[in-house]
């Protein structure tokens, strides 16, 4: 008898542990569901997700606390991380219809998301003091689906201390740029160069083509815009510099990892300049305080940089609290108290009034970023978010890197590379 009781008890234990496992799972679910269904209609929890550096996390969390304090009954469930893997996570959540109520959006994915009905219309949020050109970048078919959060500009970051001691200014035009790569080398150490080899750098090439008056090489119309003559000219210039050992050798070039304290060639003083966004400058400066400065992209026949929004807030159309989410975004971009806490954690604030009120408190880093933005805004291009991932462009971008790297490592000629790119462009829809 005792033995059978023993068995029964162990069986029961198994069932019990099973139900514990199950209830543990449903416990998590319940918490989420609980926040989605307020018992009294007053207390709600907004899920909000963003990427960024530690400084941005701290500032945002502080702003969320203040908002909860001022709006009793509204609390937040924040999810934040670095940029790596953010898009993967967001896409996966979206597939499971589990996107947060509010989430940070990037210009490069915006079209994919807006065109597939994954974003809520935010047109009701007041935008009187916000730059119209920036708002345009978050608009799809006449409706605002992504609220820009900061001004940003594409330029270059350079080692000011070293350039000053060498008695040179950062290059203003591409002619100066290529000449300087040659002229500066004898004054530098054996493994120091003006720049890394930009053969396989798609963003820099885009600037080059733009500055030569041929427009963006990739654009949101999804068509192929690479200009053959400009592209081959660019590749030939780099091939010459590479041949004469005036730019980083290929194995060093591919080891470069921007904003990584160990692997960023600029931080390691192996190169003197690189392409950069104004809004990233805080992070870069922190790795090498007081040494770096910003400047514009080199000019060709016209300016090569562009203005863009650093990032956006978007709202999920599946959210149960769309109005509350929009109210929060309104406060986030339009109120001075939010602006004061957030500072330039997402670039220079888009709301002119907020930005003006903040100006006296700007640090040197903020001022550098603002300086570049002002400089670019004189004659820089409006940002084109590009074709996104659709129509074979994700594959194109990956293959493009592969082809240009093959050229850099001398595995194929420039003409062969161009032929492969043209062949690849035929696969675009």
């Amino acid at each position: 008898m005792r033995k059978s009781w023993h068995r029964l008890a162990s069986g029961a234990a198994a069932v019990l542990s099973l139900s514990l496992v199950l209830s543990a799972c449903s416990g998590i679910k319940k918490e989420e569901a609980g926040s989605a269904e307020p018992a009294d209609g007053k207390s709600i929890t907004l899920r909000i997700m963003w990427w960024g550096s530690q400084a941005r996390h701290d500032a945002t969390l502080k702003a969320l606390d203040l908002y909860s304090e001022k709006n009793p009954g509204i609390t937040f469930e924040p999810e934040y991380q670095s940029f790596d893997g953010y898009q993967d996570k967001l896409s996966t959540q979206s597939a499971g219809k589990n996107t947060p109520d509010i989430f940070q959006m990037d210009a490069a994915w915006f079209n994919d998301w807006a065109s597939s009905g994954r974003l809520e219309d935010l047109s009701s949020i007041p935008t009187d003091h916000i730059d119209k050109a920036l708002l345009e970048t978050g608009t799809y078919q006449g409706k605002l689906y992504a609220m820009p959060l900061g001004n940003n500009a594409w330029g270059m970051v350079y080692n000011k201390t070293m350039m000053d001691s060498l008695g040179v200014q950062p290059p203003k035009t591409w002619d100066e740029f290529f000449a300087m790569a040659r002229d500066l080398k004898p004054k530098l150490a054996k493994d120091q160069y003006l720049t890394r080899d930009l053969t396989a750098d798609g963003a820099f090439y885009m600037s080059y083509q733009l500055s030569m008056g041929k427009g963006f090489s990739m654009s949101k119309d999804g068509k192929f815009h690479y200009d053959e003559a400009t592209w081959k000219d660019w590749m030939n210039k780099w091939a010459e510099l590479r041949k004469d050992n005036l730019v980083t050798p290929p194995d060093v070039t591919v080891s470069d990892k921007a904003q990584d304290a160990q692997m960023d060639l600029l931080i390691q003083e192996k190169i003197l300049l690189r392409g950069a966004h104004a809004a990233e400058f805080g992070g870069t400066d922190a790795l090498k305080p007081g040494v770096l400065a910003l400047t514009t992209q080199p000019r060709g026949t016209q300016a090569g940089g562009w203005l863009k929004a650093s990032m956006y807030w978007s709202v999920s159309p599946n959210s149960q609290y769309k109005e509350e989410a929009k109210k929060f975004i309104d406060w986030f971009v339009n109120s001075e108290e939010a602006g004061e806490i957030l500072g330039t954690s997402r670039g220079i604030p888009v709301n002119k009034t907020v930005a003006d009120a903040l100006q006296p408190k700007f640090t040197d880093v903020d001022k550098s970023a603002l300086g570049l933005i002002n400089e670019v805004s004189k004659d820089g291009a409006a940002f084109d978010p590009g074709p996104g991932n659709k129509g074979g462009w994700a594959n194109f971008t990956k293959e493009y890197d592969n082809i240009t790297q093959s050229i850099m490592f001398g595995k194929i000629s420039i003409d062969e590379g161009w032929d492969q790119i043209v062949k690849l462009s035929k696969t675009l829809e």
């Binding site: 008898m1 059978s4 029964l8 198994a14 896409s91 597939a95 060093v252 591919v254 390691q268 490592f409």
Partner: protein
């Protein structure tokens, strides 16, 4: 299983009743006690819900175009047709096979050599075993991959060594011809679990065999070839198969150390699959790749089992053969 042994005479009525029902329903095939199934139920449910169901789903998805952002669309075998024309697919196959062929034997050799070293009776041997096994506990982790990136990087330890002995330093990870080699070395460095299994296998070999061989005047090398290797062959087969299966699915270090580069020279199959799934949001395509990988691993394992008939020696077989 023999029903007689299971049916113990003193059974609680409730339990008896349950089994009677079970026996009737499954016509006597349901012989294992219900309690057993209850015990494995948490695992079983986890397997069904978290593994089997996604596997079935991925099979379905492999015949669809699915970007996560829009519902899956049935496109028949188009994914498989596209894969057959995908240059990067064949590149990743080439890289993966190279990696498997280089890393698995190397790792087994290292593991066996260290197991032999640790299979002796000296003072404090268990301490040495622990120390030597320790790195393998963290070997597959992200942190070690990052460490590896720094060791073989431009300012890394290997280059300092190279300068010291007069070799021109280079970025081993950034050079297409050496990048895969650094990953193979990283794999060999994770010898621990194979080593432990070898060690257990070595301890199973009866010492009489060695004593008899010594009496006959066999050299240590001859003893190793004639006694150790045949006696260890089932363990070698196990390690070989597990090593091959793991190597085909290698992801972490390719992702962290080189991220597939330079010029796709380390774009392993699993990394290629990941990039298709989350980089390009081609979930259907990636699912099709996953099933192709399953077939490849299945064939590789089957070939190993077939080949094992010719070199693996099981002690129990001797009576049957002679």
């Amino acid at each position: 299983m023999n029903a007689q042994t299971v049916q113990t005479p003193d059974k609680a009525g409730l339990y008896k009743g349950m089994e009677a029902v079970a026996n009737k329903t499954f016509k006597g095939r349901w012989n294992a006690p219900l309690a057993g199934y209850l015990f494995i139920a948490p695992w079983l449910l986890g397997f069904l819900i978290l593994q089997l169901w996604p596997i079935i789903q991925s099979f379905y998805l492999s015949f669809t175009e699915y970007s996560l952002l829009e519902p899956a669309r049935w496109i028949g075998i188009k994914n498989f047709q596209d894969i057959a024309h995908d240059r990067l697919f064949f590149n990743s196959l080439k890289v993966t096979f190279l990696y498997v062929i280089a890393s698995v034997p190397l790792k087994l050799l290292v593991a066996l050599a260290i197991a032999l070293l640790l299979n002796r009776n000296i003072r404090g041997i268990s301490f040495y075993r622990t120390i030597i096994y320790l790195p393998s506990l963290i070997g597959g982790s992200l942190a070690v991959a990052v460490l590896w990136r720094n060791i073989f990087g431009l300012n890394g330890f290997i280059n300092q060594l190279a300068i010291w002995v007069g070799i021109a330093p280079k970025n081993w990870i950034g050079t297409p011809s050496t990048a895969l080699g650094t990953l193979v070395l990283l794999t060999a460095w994770q010898f621990g679990s194979s080593m432990i299994i070898f060690l257990a296998g070595l301890k199973q070999i009866p010492s009489e065999l060695y004593e008899a061989a010594s009496v006959d005047g066999a050299s240590p090398l001859r003893k190793f070839i004639r006694i150790t290797l045949p006696m260890l062959s089932p363990v070698i087969l196990f390690n070989l198969i597990m090593g091959i299966i793991n190597a085909f699915q290698m992801f972490t270090s390719a992702f962290v150390v080189t991220n597939g580069g330079p010029v796709n020279s380390t774009e392993m199959f699993a990394l290629f699959l990941y990039n298709k799934a989350f980089g390009s949001l081609q979930m259907g395509y990636a699912s099709a790749l996953a099933w192709i990988l399953l077939v490849i691993i299945g064939i590789a394992t089957a070939l190993n089992f077939i080949a094992s008939k010719y070199w693996v020696f099981y002690e129990t077989e001797t009576e049957g053969r002679k």
